[in-house]
């Protein structure tokens, strides 16, 4: 049987005020990062609820990256600090469920840090690549049809440059 190379599906929740702007800057600077990542813009990482993170894993994400402002630099003062605690809670819960904690990570990025964002995404994708596909959807289980599924493709605008 033909063996298909595993391409991780990584979801990145990026804060509008920092990491999302850094991704934009990466595009302007022609910095490439893996096309495996799908970016969701959030008004602040403090907006992230535990539900969002667990739903991402339930519906097929191999890894989730949360990218918020530098500590002390949150547009809303402390949203990124709240997000860090929620990410930690979710990491512990991943272990409870039997998933590797390393599939979820939080990084702090400023709007000017296009290269570090690219590096963080690359590192996350490679970490997940080593872990292998998420066993949640590996065993023939499908996500609910009403929920959007993250499919690997090369259509990411930044990586197409």
């Amino acid at each position: 049987m033909e063996r298909v190379a595993f391409e991780p599906r990584v979801l990145a929740f990026c804060c509008h005020y920092c990491a999302y702007a850094a991704a934009d800057l990466a595009g302007t600077m022609r910095i490439q990062y893996p096309a495996n990542v799908r970016i969701i813009r959030t008004p602040c990482t403090g907006r992230l609820e535990t539900e969002f993170l667990i739903k991402a894993f339930e519906t097929g994400a191999d890894g989730v990256l949360v990218a918020g402002c530098l500590e002390g630099g949150c547009h809303y003062t402390s949203g990124n600090l709240y997000a860090r605690r929620r990410v930690q809670y979710m990491r512990d819960m991943l272990a409870e469920m039997g998933l590797e904690k390393e599939r979820l990570r939080m990084v702090n990025i400023s709007a000017a840090m296009a290269r570090p964002l690219s590096d963080a995404i690359t590192d996350m994708v490679e970490t997940v690549r080593k872990l292998g596909p998420s066993p949640v959807t590996r065993n023939g289980h499908k996500s609910k049809p009403t929920e959007s599924r993250i499919e690997p493709s090369n259509a990411h605008p930044q990586s197409a440059i």
């Binding site: 609820e49 535990t50 539900e51 667990i54 339930e58 819960m93 469920m97 039997g98 066993p135 959807t137």
Partner: protein, 222 residues
């Protein structure tokens, strides 16, 4: 309010392992406020059960529903169709809610998804503390509104024990000595003389003695 916390996912999975269709039933009252069994937690625990069951190769379909109050028959009825559709119910209500659901739907297994912990209050964001043991014979009026039964580690009615350090309990250094609080409070409201009285042993017959407690109000019976 009643404060509870969720059981760990492996324990929950073990509890429901013999079922294929499970209803995770939340409660919109106390356990919603203490962030243990409301609509959000139903979503999180359901997702976690789906993920964990897939990882273990267990075939488990999870339906989610939250009703206003699990300890009230009027609201319990709203779950009838969902209960009927599933093999079992994992209730995220308090112990009273779980039992009310089990009594109402006697042909379905009903399991507790939470550990009901105490009657308490939200001290500050994310921190809940116990305030009441429901002993059945309240003595708060004697102690400036601070309960020695619940908050003193030795449940002393004629304290302090003498072991406290500064204002800290010797059993639990992370909590203040209840008797220090009682003294300060009585002094503040000018009722220090209440401490001169030797309080006789508490009547525990109105507490856990004799099984389930029942209150009957004839004036409200119809």
């Amino acid at each position: 309010m009643i404060v509870a916390e969720r059981k760990k996912i492996p324990e929950l999975l073990d509890i429901v392992k013999e079922h294929q269709k499970l209803l995770v039933l939340g409660c919109g009252t106390c356990v919603t406020v203490c962030l243990a069994g409301g609509e959000r937690e139903v979503g999180i625990i359901s997702s976690a059960l789906r993920i964990a069951s897939r990882l273990q190769g267990v075939d488990l379909a999870v339906e989610e529903l939250t009703i206003e109050r699990q300890c009230d028959n009027v609201f319990i009825e709203q779950a009838a169709d969902a209960v009927e559709r599933n093999d079992a119910v994992l209730s995220l209500g308090c112990g009273a809610g779980v039992q009310a659901i089990a009594e109402r739907y006697h042909n379905k297994p009903v399991y507790a998804g939470l550990n009901t912990t105490f009657i308490g209050i939200l001290e500050e964001q994310g921190i809940w503390t116990e305030k009441c043991t429901a002993c059945g014979a309240c003595i708060l009026h004697e102690y400036g509104g601070i309960c020695p039964v619940t908050r003193c580690a030795k449940h002393m009615l004629n304290g302090p024990c003498g072991g406290s350090r500064e204002d800290r309990c010797e059993v639990r250094p992370d909590v203040p000595c209840a008797w220090q609080l009682i003294y300060a409070r009585l002094k503040e409201i000018g009722q220090l003389e209440k401490l001169h009285r030797i309080v006789p042993p508490k009547d525990w017959s109105r507490s856990l003695d004799g099984g389930q407690r029942v209150i009957i109000r004839q004036d409200h019976r119809i």
